[in-house]
Subunit: 80 residues, 2 copies
DNA sequence: GGGTCTATTTATAAATG
DNA sequence: TCATTTATAAATAGACC
C-alpha cells in the first residue's frame, strides 16, 4: 500500500528502514489492539527497533507478563 | 476494511468472533513477518484464540524464546 | 474449519512541514 | 526525528462453497 508497491526484503538504507519500522510498528500495534478487542483475547508482542530499542503490547507490564506466562505454562502440545 | 465499516468492540457472536480472529490473526502474522524482514528486526507474538489455543510468531520455538529472553534480560529503562 | 471472491475500508510510501 | 497529506497498495467483512 502506498505510492509504490514494495518488495518484502531487507531495506538497506538505514534511514528508510527506521522510518518504515516506526510507521509499521504503529500500524501493527493498532491491529493487535483491534484483534484483542474484537475477539476478546490475550495477545502479546515484543518488537526490537533497528537501533535495539524495544516496543511491547500491551504497554502494561503486568498484563504483558501475564500473557507470556500463560504461554510458557501451556503444555507444549497445546501450542500452535 | 471490507464490505462494511466495523466498530472496534467485542463481537458477542461466538462464531463471528472466531472467524474474525482467524482472518485477522493471519493478517497480523503476515504483517509481523513483513516488518521483521523489511527492517531486519526481532519480533515475537503470542495470541490466544477465543477457544484458548495459542498462535505464535516466529513458529520456530528457539527463535521465539530467544527474542523473549532478549526482552526479559533488557534493563527496564530500555523498555519501550 | 479453511479457502475464494469482491466491494469497500484501511494501511502506508513518498513527499512535504 | 515526529506529524500531515494524498495517491495507491493491501487487508478484510460478508457471502459463498
Amino acid at each position: 500500500m502506498g505510492r509504490h508497491k514494495v518488495t518484502i526484503k531487507k531495506i538497506e538504507d538505514a534511514t528508510r528502514s527506521q522510518i518504515t519500522f516506526s510507521k509499521r510498528r504503529n500500524g501493527l500495534i493498532k491491529k493487535i489492539h483491534e484483534l484483542s478487542t474484537l475477539s476478546d483475547v490475550d495477545v502479546a508482542l515484543v518488537a526490537f527497533s533497528p537501533s535495539g530499542r524495544v516496543s511491547q503490547y500491551p504497554s502494561d507490564n503486568k498484563k504483558f507478563m501475564k500473557t507470556l506466562n500463560r504461554y510458557v505454562n501451556l503444555p507444549i502440545l497445546d501450542r500452535d
